[in-house]
């Protein structure tokens, strides 16, 4: 008899807790989503037209970007291995990965990473300013000390470039290998690629390979998901 009572109580409690927590989640989430939407509107994502690098806010001391020669990737995954090794990325996650895409029955491989967008939705979404865009070089970083692991940035990122790292209890993602850049090295994935797919450099340097590749008017350049107007700093073109 007692057992039966306990069971009904448990069931009732369970229902109460579920209903209560659902209410709390929805009451927290709704203003959060609304604030993201407001932030998006305020920062003008989707409204800016014209040349991005003429906007004062995006004139960096070093304008780092990556050009990916998309027809050269052979999915040997050396970049992924190098990235994992350099930054201790857990096996089930990635900071960069290779996708297989099919276009008019023509299959090809597409390396993706964090695009360090100039209008980064993750930075807008972050409630603690852990995700931030560096003013000196435009790199988007996550401060693990400030990150509360709410994963809103993961939802905000249109490119699925972020993951929650259980080991550091914070969101982690590609940093363009910023600590390596500080030492004068290239990003680990760029160095590991045997097929010269990833080219990294400073757009402010007009003699850099990236500048030349992006100003070769015979080849068209594209970014992924241009419709989200995030102005990514990773460009794709054919070799």
């Amino acid at each position: 008899m007692n057992n039966d009572n306990n069971k009904t109580l448990n069931r009732r409690n369970f229902l109460k807790i579920t209903a209560g927590s659902l209410t709390i989640i929805s009451s927290v989430a709704t203003p959060l989503i609304a604030s993201i939407a407001q932030g998006v509107e305020k920062k003008g994502i989707g409204k800016v037209e014209g040349k991005i690098h003429e906007i004062k806010e995006f004139k960096y001391k070093h304008s780092y970007c990556m050009v990916i020669l998309e027809d050269r990737c052979i999915d040997c995954e050396r970049c992924m291995e190098a990235c994992r090794k350099t930054w201790n990325v857990p096996d089930e996650h990635y900071r960069t990965r290779i996708l297989e895409v099919e276009n008019h029955k023509h299959k090809s491989f597409l390396p993706v990473l964090c695009f360090h967008c100039d209008f980064a939705p993750c930075v807008v979404a972050c409630p603690t300013q852990a995700s931030h865009k560096r003013k000196e070089d435009g790199i988007v970083l996550v401060d693990p000390d400030k990150c509360i692991g709410c994963k809103v940035c993961m939802l905000a990122c249109p490119y699925d470039a972020r993951y929650y790292n259980e080991e550091i209890h914070a969101i982690d993602k590609c940093t363009f290998c910023q600590p390596r850049l500080a030492k004068g090295l290239k990003p680990a994935c760029v160095e590991a690629c045997p097929a010269h797919v990833r080219i990294f450099g400073d757009l402010n340097d007009h003699n850099s390979e990236v500048y030349k590749l992006l100003h070769d008017y015979e080849k068209s350049i594209r970014v992924l998901k241009p419709e989200v107007h995030t102005k990514p700093r990773v460009y794709y073109r054919k070799s």
Partner: protein, 121 residues
Amino acid sequence: MKKYILLLVSILFCVLLSMNCLAADDDESGGLIIFEKPVEGVVFEHKLHSDLDCSDCHDDIFPQEAGGTAEAKDFTMKAMEEGETCGSCHDGDTAFSVKKDCLKCHVGKMNIKKIEAEAGE
């Protein structure tokens, strides 16, 4: 007596058929080779080259022993472009050039996993 002859003929037929099957088996011709050196994600299919004689490639261009080719010094894209190893046929005239159609051989690590899973079944 007729029965015995019929049985004998049918056994003979079966033996011939099985021999034929064995000859067509992949293992007999080297089968599928998955290269992990110098880069991963590369596949060579003997079946696709079955219009050639074994002696066309072995042992002048490629050693016949398993794993020998991957260890060879001239098994690189640069050497192939200069006409070594695969490049001795894949020059754009005899067969498609090694400078183009990368993904015909470099099928990628994710597809290798699929091929291996299919082979394991």
